[in-house]
């Protein structure tokens, strides 16, 4: 039974002064992740402090935009959608959706690549993934 991904309307994203650079990059089709400069370790989600040291010695760096499905589920609502954690090649696992495919074919370990999907109004796009 195929379940095509729906084009459900996505809510506006709450941009704040700290996460704005992330979403500015998303508008340009670039995926950024956090980097703790104290430890050299990547982190998710982007924030104004290092979750490893609590210092503000952090920056956003560009990720390759590819990864694998760590886990997923298909919400069987009127407009079905696939929620997933994708493990980026850089190592962090990010909460996202798998789109533009038959949702019944999504599998753990599947290779995926980033795709940006429009949200409401002038809000920045959402960071999603599709089979690579």
């Amino acid at each position: 039974m195929a379940t095509p991904a729906s084009n459900r309307a996505l809510p506006a994203i709450a941009v704040d002064p700290t996460n704005k650079p992330y979403f500015d990059a998303a508008r340009e089709g670039r995926l950024l992740i956090g980097l703790c400069k104290d430890t050299g370790k990547h982190f998710w989600y982007p924030r104004g402090c290092s979750p490893f040291t609590l210092s503000n010695n952090v920056e956003l760096v560009e990720a390759k935009g590819t990864g694998t499905v760590y886990t997923y589920t298909v919400m069987r609502t009127k407009e079905p959608y696939c929620v997933a954690y994708v493990e980026l090649d850089e190592g962090v696992r990010i909460f996202t959706n798998i789109v533009d495919c038959d949702l019944d074919e999504v599998r753990i370990g599947q290779k995926v690549k980033v795709v940006f999907k429009p949200t409401q109004g002038d809000s920045p796009p959402a960071t999603m993934f599709t089979p690579a």
Binding site: P11, A14, K41, T73, N97
Partner: protein
């Protein structure tokens, strides 16, 4: 400092309603508070410690304390980690009592999501404003159901857990609920009923999910001298543990819960082991919640939860670990979308010998209640208490 033996649960009350069309949330708080005080043989003017959560109407405990006419308060605590908060409150109340901060603590929970037709599990919702993870989760349709389904899917992948094994948890709950006249779902179901019910969020079916109900409950906790002066059976708090689990900076592992930490803390304080527990109230927002917590609490090895729960092992009188003998959140009651209160209440019933005769564990003297609040697949608060009939 240990709370072992420093406090007793002397009052416990579960509101009989499951749909409160004609009552406000504040009214429900009043009714459960009154019920628990009556059960204990106390009055509201005996209460000098008050515990509730952010789910209570108003600013922390202030508005409810006013509404309930609590004028003698010298200690309050509105710790909120979701549905497990009320398990945590038992530990916090015991700590406060042991330090002399209060003598008689009242814990209340009430809500009416069913009357308000809330899409509890399947609509995205935030916990507030300025929540830093919201922009990275809410647009992706994070709901209660899918935040648990993500864990179930990974558990199946890593350990070979099956939908049929998860279904046994619901089957066991339904065997207990048939004897509870207040339970929402009293029909005994089979593994086939569960796996053939509509899929909500793969791999969780409708019958893998708890009920949505109105109502609430309350507890009275006090110091040993007062407990021994009252007429109720003595239910002693022996140990408590709490923990939070989060996304670990993006390196999350969804195969375990915070029970991995709260459980051992509680067992250490209580001076006992999982094998000593005769009855367990295990948070059952979904079947997967139960399975993962049983593993993390040490009732079986990690990854063996599926085998452990199968074939009726959780059914009172049949299996080795009777659980949720009121029918749990899966079949009886999950008031205000928060199941911790009813977990403690059924453990108290079992220790008093007041559970339904068909599900009462004979000679039950040691019980555990455990909760997971928030979302299993993102961030949650875990709380464990171990209680003893003295």
């Amino acid at each position: 400092m240990s709370i072992n033996g420093k406090a007793y649960i002397v009052g416990a009350f579960e509101h009989p309603t499951r749909k409160a069309d004609d009552k406000s949330v504040a009214q429900l708080h009043a009714e459960v508070a009154y019920g628990a005080l009556q059960d204990a043989g106390l009055t509201k003017d005996d209460v000098d410690g008050f515990f509730c959560t952010g789910a209570a109407p108003g600013l922390g405990p202030l508005n409810m304390a006013d509404y309930l006419g609590l004028t003698k308060l010298r200690h309050f605590d509105s710790t909120d980690v979701g549905g497990s908060s009320y398990v945590m409150h038992v530990g916090h109340a015991a700590e406060a009592i042991s330090m002399g901060l209060c003598d008689i603590a009242l814990v209340t929970l009430a809500g009416r999501p069913r009357a308000e037709a809330m899409a509890t599990g399947t609509a995205p919702r935030s916990w507030g404003v300025n929540v830093p993870d919201d922009p990275f989760e809410i647009p992706y349709g994070r709901t209660v159901a899918n935040a648990y389904a993500l864990c179930a899917m990974r558990h199946m992948h890593e350990f070979g857990t099956t939908s049929e094994q998860l279904a046994w948890i619901k089957v066991a709950a339904s065997h207990h609920a048939q004897w509870n006249e207040h339970a929402m779902l009293r029909k005994v179901v089979t593994v086939e009923d569960v796996v053939n019910s509509p899929m909500v969020s793969d791999p969780l079916h409708r019958l893998d999910c708890c009920v949505i109900s109105d109502g609430g409950g309350a507890l009275i906790i006090t110091k040993p001298e007062i407990a021994k002066s009252l007429k109720r059976p003595l239910v002693k708090v022996r140990g408590h543990g709490e923990a939070t689990k989060n996304q670990n900076a993006g390196y999350t592992d969804l195969t375990y819960s915070g029970a991995r930490w709260s459980g051992p803390r509680a067992f250490e304080e209580a001076g006992c082991r999982p094998a000593d527990i005769q009855y367990a109230s295990i948070y059952d927002s979904f079947t997967i919640t139960v399975l993962m917590q049983l593993e993390d609490l040490g009732f079986c090895e990690k990854g063996q939860g599926g085998k452990f729960v199968a074939d009726g092992n959780l059914i009172s009188g049949v299996g080795k670990l009777p659980f949720n003998t009121d029918g749990g959140g899966l079949c009886n009651n999950h008031p205000a979308n928060r199941g911790g209160m009813t977990k403690v209440i059924e453990a108290v019933r079992q220790l008093r010998g007041e559970a339904h005769p068909k599900v009462q564990v004979p000679g039950c003297t040691l019980a555990l209640a455990h909760g997971t609040g928030g979302l299993l697949g993102t961030r949650h608060g875990s709380a464990t208490v171990i209680l003893e009939r003295e």
